[in-house]
């Protein structure tokens, strides 16, 4: 039975393992690597691991999370999804509502804009009010435990958006008519905005994972994340309906009639909103679950 040793986990296998949720990798990652060192791996193994990562995200085994880590994971995921969906929605509104194009005449589209504005405002208020006690608790924890990196991650939630706004205001002051300078200004602000939103939401999410705070602030933030996720999903739905309505009913702006653009927007919104709401649902379920013995 002696023969060539089976090939251990290669870079593709490691990439496939990276597709799994962090809690899954932490629990089973080493075991799978040890198995593949003995059994070898090939394209079938890589494909099998990659495919099985999807149900691990969609329906994660419950024993991988205790109640509080489930809530923390949900708060972090909702925060990232919320930032992404708010950014996508803001770009959509900027492109369609705020640039002086003729307002879409159909009442359904107008109602969708109103719902979008109201839902987004509710989600912002809920996210700030619900996240503030947890953020303050983590700031205190990081200070007491002298953890400057975690403090830096936490302050990114404030400093990065402030820096972005300061940069945007400065640019608007220096360049009096940015619209006359072409679409590069808008593209630049949009890309920077997404980067800022990503950093501002990733900071607290990373700190949440590293500091692992507990107590009522986590439960409160999780409940708020549930409300914020629902509100921002409603905003996303309203913007998607508005995008479809613009595509069907407007007569002025040619870009509105590109069904592929509207379809791509719809797909992005649905994917982010689904991720946020599913994760928020799990967190809320954990919040109201009876703690184990």
């Amino acid at each position: 039975m002696s023969g060539p040793l089976p090939a251990g986990p290669g870079p593709l296998t490691s990439l496939a393992l990276m597709l799994y949720p962090p809690a899954w990798r932490e629990r089973y990652g080493d075991e799978v690597r040890a198995l593949l060192e003995e059994a070898g791996s090939g394209p079938v193994t890589v494909a099998s691991l990659a495919v099985r990562a999807v149900p691990a995200w969609v329906n994660p085994p419950r024993h991988l999370h205790d109640r509080e880590s489930r809530m923390r994971a949900s708060v972090g995921t909702v925060l990232l999804a919320w930032a992404a969906l708010t950014g996508v929605g803001a770009v959509f509104v900027q492109l369609t509502q705020l640039q002086g194009f003729r307002a879409p005449g159909h009442p359904l589209v107008q109602w969708c804009y109103l719902i979008f504005d109201a839902a987004l405002a509710i989600s912002v208020l809920t996210a700030v009010a619900g996240g503030m006690p947890l953020w303050l608790q983590m700031i205190g924890l990081a200070r007491r435990e002298r953890r400057p990196r975690e403090l830096a991650w936490l302050w990114m939630a404030v400093l990065v958006p402030a820096g972005y706004l300061a940069l945007a205001l400065t640019a608007l002051t220096v360049v009096h008519d940015p619209e006359a300078s072409g679409s590069w200004w808008f593209a630049g602000f949009a890309v920077l905005g997404f980067a800022a939103a990503g950093l501002a939401s990733a900071g607290p999410a990373v700190a949440l994972k590293r500091l692992a705070p507990g107590g009522p602030a986590v439960a409160f933030a999780t409940a708020a994340a549930g409300v914020a996720a629902a509100a921002v999903a409603l905003a996303g739905l309203a913007s998607a309906i508005a995008a479809a309505g613009l595509c069907l009913w407007t007569t002025s702006f040619a870009g509105y009639h590109h069904a592929d653009l509207a379809g791509a927007y719809l797909l992005i919104v649905v994917a982010i909103a689904a991720t946020g709401t599913v994760s928020a649902g799990r967190g809320v379920r954990a919040t109201f679950a009876i703690p184990a013995r």
Partner: protein, 108 residues
């Protein structure tokens, strides 16, 4: 031809059956299922099944000095395996009886 039906095999049942005699780690389960039951599980399928069976309490991990963590079947796992194998036994008996009646099949 028989191997083409492997995809319809019930991996959780195969893993439970593999663990019924003694605790095994992942690679040992793969080999046992392949050698004794003729089904080749992939690493992705195996660990998806292990995670589910562990989550519902049908198997449990044992302490291990290295990364190859062994698993053992629990009392609930034994009860489930007994129930499922009895059901499969009834299906097998019925299938053999009907094949015999209708096609004169005398058994493998």
């Amino acid at each position: 031809m028989a191997n083409r039906l492997d995809r319809w095999a019930d991996p959780p049942l195969l893993v439970l059956a593999s663990l019924a005699d003694e605790p095994k780690h992942g690679y040992a389960i793969l080999r046992d299922v392949s050698e004794t039951m003729g089904v080749r599980l992939t690493a992705g399928t195996l660990y998806a099944v292990i995670a589910r069976l562990e989550a519902v309490g049908l198997i449990e991990p044992l302490a291990s000095a290295d990364r190859r963590r062994p698993y053992q079947i629990t009392a609930a796992g034994r009860a489930t395996l007994a129930e499922q194998s009895a059901r499969m036994g009834r299906v097998a008996s019925l299938a053999q009886a009907r094949l015999g009646e209708r096609y004169g099949w005398a058994g493998a």
